[in-house]
Symmetry: C2
Subunit: 458 residues, 2 copies
């Protein structure tokens, strides 16, 4: 099943798996202890830190491991803001930052801080000059992502970092999306990342704080990880994270070129294949593996389900797919269409044939959703109004399983008829309908066995 | 190599390893996503939560997974204190809580809160009545561990929980050490645990907040885990944690009886095998697998190294083994000897032969360390009425060794004054007097360090 949602979580890289297994045996003890198991754990931790620091482009003593990218952002921002409290209580962020940055900004505001949110162009790109213009004498911290997680647009981080240095304001770069592709250039002061975005295991983030950056850790004291990430470390996962970052970096150049071509194929072909759709995000300054588009007259959640049925895992920034029923703040900031929104982010190693297959499946999926919604100009749905499932000779629970397998293949209002000669079906099919909130129409004798009719309601 | 430091981190339980491997393949995706991989991850997460909740003795919707036990304590205390801010700003803890509790108490104090620290008996046990007496009308939260992590003493949690309920004060129980052995009884309100203490992987803690407990999550907003544990969850580790908790619980009764006998063997035999040593902690109300003892005239770090060379991994609460050069706050609160301190905590499955081997190795190790330090032997005494020993600049256990060397050189009724600037001396000189039935007169500031006066009684 093609998984096209690497920007949410990448499948575990083989190197990560291998390193994790090895360090489960070698690295479970407390690295602070004096005995052999502890010293061995300490060696593993030190080696992982050196390796990760090299990948990030900082010194090992500038880098700590956190339990997630989100916690790296929370700790990094809170520590930098507290460290420069005397300078001022002003924070600059872009409007399209990850929610972890924006939520920290909100809680900073709630504590009396002042926040400037710099807007973006319709491509999702932050104008470097506008960002620089927001810096003030009392700015304690500025935050800019290296590339946007929803639309893939790369930000002018190097230029902004230079501007921040000139203004003596520390810049925190959320590099979660770009770190697998290369180090972040420029004189940034803090940097955060998240291992499960590059094929490392979940449970590992990283926070780099360059020497000379004022930093005052918040929260209760803890002696681990320079006081910047409390709690017993997740050493096996840390080892796996560092090893896989190194591994994906070794493949990054070649794989970047290859995925960029696949994404270009999607960017070019989709508007030809689907009417009323819009590819969003910067076509040039962008992550190699990510493309986002929106389709008019399409319910994002229904489209996700349609694609899921066709075997494709993608994500969406449409309002119907979020718990808050509001569209993605990124699409809103860009001022682009949010309905029928799909983000495709290709994991390393995605074969070209999967992308080609996607290009044949998507137009059908969009058509099906539009037809169900009675969208203007819709064609008849690519689904059948009535299906017959032959479960003759199959025993409980197979008839019900077969029914459950196909119910989604008829539209709401359509029917599925199950042919069965198993007595249990007489009891179990109506029960399934009750539990699943489907309509049980009734039964009638068939040439062999009994025909049970079910009408799809949900 | 016998590993006797399960209370720091238990080796991965085979069930944990198996579950971790399986869920690396099945559970890497984002459980919040709608596609198949996401739904599969969600099913795994829900099942893990149900299983862990059953082990804890709470409802699944009362339990969240955190990145560590420390973070569970930080979040749990901060959330409960904030949730009852209007009731008051008073916090009750015991003096022997884990550092994560005490550090949170300190940061609460720094923000203007008031903290009462309830002392313990010499066994390390908190008197339930004294704890109850500390509760006030403006007490926002009380915290008591289920069992002590350094000396294994079980606390009267059920009684204290009843007292808290009567006073309508929520009780947070740090159950990190006892959770592998059984659920915590009584009407507690919050409970925390840590998977790597029961053979689960590192990177997983748990926080239960019973319905009806006022709770206001702190820090930036995050939609995961009821807002109580920000960041992308570590699902494979969570699955492994829940599975291994269930597995160790299935073995807990039989294994508890077996390890309790092995620990009793150590408690009984050691004082026969080694002179001038003290087994500390409650002999009855205790964890089954943990025993702590201190040895006079022994440097804890040297003893750890000696045992490590002999193949035994143990831990110590002596000042010379900590980065702060202060003895364990637990031993200090109990008022017992801290020098030459060793904690033995047996992992599940420890063979009896390992314990017997330890009982042959330890006396040799103690002898070797004492010989190197020139501990008191049979030197002919010379008589003076009052002696001053200058131990300035010398670390534990040298000040006590110097005291012991000269005590026979004053007549009964005469005094020895020890000048020391080592923090451990404050605990260890009175403890030595108690063990030797000498009189501890008291301490007073000296030109450098502190003067500790001892009167010879025997």
């Amino acid at each position: 099943m093609p998984y096209f949602d690497a920007a949410s979580a990448a499948p575990l890289h083989p190197t990560a798996r291998q390193a994790l297994l090895a360090s489960l045996d070698e690295g479970w003890a407390d690295p602070a202890r004096l005995y052999r198991e502890g010293r061995r754990a300490r060696l593993l931790l030190d080696a992982a830190r050196e390796s990760a620091a090299e990948s990030v482009g900082c010194r090992p003593d500038e880098l700590v491991f956190t339990p997630s990218g989100t916690q790296a952002v929370h700790s990094g921002m809170a520590g930098a803001l507290a460290g420069r409290r005397r300078v001022g209580r002003h924070l600059v962020v872009s409007e399209v930052e990850h929610s972890s940055v924006l939520h920290t900004a909100e809680s900073f505001e709630a504590e009396g801080g002042e926040v400037d949110r710099v807007g973006v162009e319709s491509t999702g790109r932050v104008p470097a000059q506008a960002f620089a213009a927001a810096l003030r004498a009392d700015t304690a911290l500025a935050c800019l992502q290296s590339a946007n997680h929803e639309v893939g647009t790369a930000q002018p981080v190097e230029e902004v970092a230079e501007a921040c240095r000139a203004a003596t304001v520390p810049l925190l770069v959320d590099a979660a999306q770009s770190l697998p592709w290369g180090p972040v250039p420029g004189p940034w002061s803090l940097l955060t990342g998240s291992a499960h975005k590059w094929g490392g295991p979940p449970g590992v983030g990283l926070l780099a704080v360059r020497k000379g950056t004022r930093f005052a850790p918040r929260g209760p004291a803890d002696e681990r990880e320079s006081g910047r990430a409390p709690g017993f470390g997740n050493l096996p996962a840390v080892v796996a994270a560092a090893a896989s970052l190194r591994a994906v970096r070794a493949e990054a150049e070649a794989e970047g070129v290859r995925l960029r071509e696949l994404v270009d194929r999607i960017r070019l072909r989709l508007p030809e294949l689907v009417d009323d759709m819009e590819v969003v995000g910067d076509p040039v300054h962008r992550l190699p593996h990510l493309v986002t588009f929106s389709c008019l007259y399409v319910d994002g959640e229904a489209l996700l389900h349609e694609l899921d049925r066709a075997g494709f895992a993608v994500s969406s920034g449409s309002s119907c797919t979020s718990s808050t029923l509001t569209p993605s703040h990124v699409l809103r900031a860009m001022g682009v269409l949010s309905e029928g929104n799909v983000r495709v982010s290709l994991p390393h190693g995605t074969p070209a044939t999967d992308v080609d297959h996607f290009l044949t499946v998507l137009p059908e999926a969009v058509r099906a959703v539009r037809a169900r919604l009675g969208a203007p100009g819709a064609e008849p749905p690519a689904v059948e109004e009535a299906l017959v499932v032959d479960a003759l000779g199959r025993r409980c629970p197979i008839p019900v399983i077969e029914l459950a397998k196909v119910i989604d293949r008829v539209p709401v209002g359509g029917t599925v008829t199950v042919l069965s000669d198993d007595e249990a079906a007489r009891l179990d099919i109506p029960a399934w309908c009750r539990m699943r909130e489907q309509e049980y129409v009734g039964e009638e004798p068939a040439v062999r066995g009994t025909a049970y009719q079910v009408r799809r309601r949900v």
